[in-house]
């Protein structure tokens, strides 16, 4: 009887612990697809987890550096999904009619609405993203612990969707640690239907 109770308790503990864990899988250094259209070729191994409209990749842990790969935002989509419904209501929504300047404002406002502060954008430039006319800008902000972070956004609108990559990391060490790998990876982005890639 006692053994049975202990076994049940152990099972409950395992369930409890598992519920609090994020599920990550390994991304090998080879071309992979994210969603139905975007593909990318990492040159090192990453850990990834999926959220509704993106994949989040990291090497050292999301608190230290994270790469958000969006599968293609559509009208009404938000960049981040917050658990607090009141704050989520204030989260800006993507619109296919947004200009380049509005796209930056959309990304900036999403970062601020997520609770980050002291946001400053830098070096906003037109650039190619998967052979499309796209944009890129860098930013700095303080995270919820007051730690300075650096990041950049690169993307392009294709069809009615916004394809976007956000990379951010702690200013001290972790942002720069894989920056070159991320830059190389972004140059490898292709937008094509998955069937054409496979």
């Amino acid at each position: 009887m006692t053994a049975q109770i202990l076994a049940r308790l152990a099972f409950l503990c395992v369930c409890f612990l598992a519920a609090g864990c994020q599920t990550y899988s390994l991304v090998q250094p080879a071309r992979v697809t994210v969603g139905d259209k975007l593909s990318i070729e990492p040159d090192i191994a990453w850990n990834k987890r999926s959220i509704e409209n993106a994949e989040i990749w990291t090497v050292d842990g999301e608190a230290l550096q994270a790469l958000h790969l969006y599968k293609g935002l559509e009208d009404g989509d938000t960049l981040f999904v917050l658990t607090n419904s009141e704050k989520q209501e204030k989260m800006p929504q993507y619109s296919k009619t947004m200009s380049l300047l509005e796209l930056r404002e959309f990304i900036e406002a999403s970062i601020v609405q997520s609770g980050f502060t002291n946001l400053k954008s830098l070096k906003f430039k037109p650039t190619k993203f998967a052979d499309k006319d796209g944009f890129r800008f860098e930013f700095t902000f303080s995270n919820t612990n007051g730690l300075r972070e650096l990041g950049f956004a690169a993307g392009a609108q294709s069809g009615d969707r916004l394809y976007l990559v956000l990379y951010r990391g702690a200013k001290l060490h972790y942002y720069g640690k894989y920056l070159k790998n991320v830059e190389d990876m972004i140059r490898s982005v292709q937008l094509a239907w998955a069937s054409a890639i496979l």
Binding site: C13, N84, E86, K87, K90, P92, S99, L100, L101, E102, R104, E105, E108, A109, V112, Q113, G115, T117, N118, L119, S121, L122, K123, F124, K125, P126, F135, F137, S142, T144, N145, G146, L147, R148
Partner: protein, 412 residues
């Protein structure tokens, strides 16, 4: 397992403190001299001696240690405003109010767009930039600082903790405190704010602190009606937010407490009316206040805009425009508000505000970029191109000149 450990820890701490609770009734000290004074004769008498360091085995020391830990986290954070003039000014006002307690208080100006100020029992004070944007003169800021210092001098946090220890709230108090008291609030000061929420002041304590704020204003020759005016201004903002259904959970410890804002405003008006020499108390030091904060106001306004609490921001801008200080930037930000809100008619409203900003003279250079965007939306492509070109002229080293040139190229 974690919960069991926390409860065990809480019980242990509770037991430890339970045996050494000290009594708060004791000597009182003059805020002017720091020397013992009779509470019955001195309305500003403190229960705390200047420079007092409680013995390590007391509950007071335990509480201060929790706040020390929280202070250690936020004082090096990127959210602390380092501008020397702002720090010198705010610290100077704190010292003016605190007198012999000046050396016991450390002031941190925090870049956070909410009306908030907190005071820990360890002497760590936070003043948020959202408050500095809203207080309109030195008297109003003094009223808030005096209020917070009142909590400190009367050891309200300690009193609240003891109440908690003596009631069933004790377990919750220590569980939260030992868990780090993290809440999803702006920056690392969240842990301190969470602690402040745990020791949330009672109705009577808030009234006492308001009375301290009022008495400090009178003592230093400021117009005591300014304390009531702050509440009037905040009520206007809150009403606008409620009307628009934008009301969000308040993050302000300063606002979250009872009594309700209108009751506090009315009580402070009554207190001001009762001052016999009120007609002599006219000092508000608006010019000094503006000289320190107006050069930074654009940053505070930008942070406020980024929150997208449009109804509240619109009301705040209305009040600031009435004040008539640097109105060009205020019209610019009202234009930005309308452009980003993008409700029916907002494009036209934004265009009008930008024009008012230009008329007022010396608007932020970014206005030309915003006007370019509005002209684009209205289909006025030549006007848009002209506005973007003016932006390049006004801000030749801006970080987005490449993209603006690209946009001009597309418009051509």
């Amino acid at each position: 397992m974690i919960a069991v450990r926390q409860i065990g820890c809480a019980i242990a701490v509770l037991g430890m403190l339970g045996g050494c609770v000290t009594t708060q009734s004791g000597p009182t000290y003059s805020v002017s001299t720091g020397k013992p004074t009779a509470a019955a004769d001195d309305k500003l008498a403190a229960t705390l001696k200047p420079g007092a360091k409680p013995a390590l085995n007391t509950d007071d020391a335990g509480l201060r240690m929790m706040y020390d830990k929280a202070e250690g986290k936020f004082k090096t954070s990127g959210n602390v405003v380092r501008d020397p003039e702002i720090n010198r000014y705010v610290s100077g006002l704190v010292c003016k109010v605190a007198g012999p307690y000046c050396a016991d208080i450390r002031v941190y100006v925090i870049r956070a767009p909410y009306f908030n100020a907190t005071m820990g029992p360890n002497g760590a004070m936070q003043v948020w930039t959202g408050l500095l944007l809203r207080t309109r003169n030195e008297a109003q800021l003094m009223a808030v600082l005096g209020h917070e210092i009142g909590h400190y001098l009367r050891q309200h946090s300690l009193e609240r903790m003891r109440t908690a220890v003596n009631t069933s709230n004790a377990l919750a108090f220590f569980q939260l405190a030992t868990a780090g008291a993290g809440v999803g609030i702006v920056g690392a000061m969240g842990s301190l704010v969470a602690l402040a929420q745990l020791t949330a002041y009672s109705r009577d304590q808030e009234r006492e602190a308001d009375r301290f704020g009022h008495l400090f204003l009178v003592k230093h020759g400021y117009d005591p009606r300014e304390a009531a005016r702050i509440w009037g201004q905040l009520i206007e903002e809150q009403d606008a937010e409620k009307e628009e259904g934008e009301e969000e959970e308040t993050r302000s410890v300063f606002l979250a407490s009872h009594p309700l804002p209108d009751e506090r405003r009315d009580t402070l008006w009554e207190l001001a009316d009762e001052v016999e020499v009120r007609e002599k108390l006219t000092k508000i030091n608006e010019e000094v206040y503006n000289a320190v904060f107006l050069p930074h106001r654009r940053m505070f306004l930008r942070d406020e805009l980024n929150l997208r609490r449009f109804a509240r921001f619109e009301t705040l801008l209305e009040m600031l425009i009435e004040d008539g200080k640097q109105v060009a930037e205020l019209h610019y930000f009202r234009g930005e508000l309308y452009r980003l809100r993008n409700d029916v008619g907002d494009v036209e409203r934004a265009e009008k505000e930008y024009e008012l900003a230009v008329e007022a003279g010396d608007p932020p250079g970014e206005i030309h970029r915003s006007m370019g965007q509005i002209h684009q939306k209205l289909g006025k492509m030549d006007a848009a191109k002209g506005a973007f070109q003016r932006y390049l002229k006004a801000k030749p080293n801006a970080e987005d000149v490449d993209i603006i040139r690209h946009i001009i190229g597309k418009l051509s």
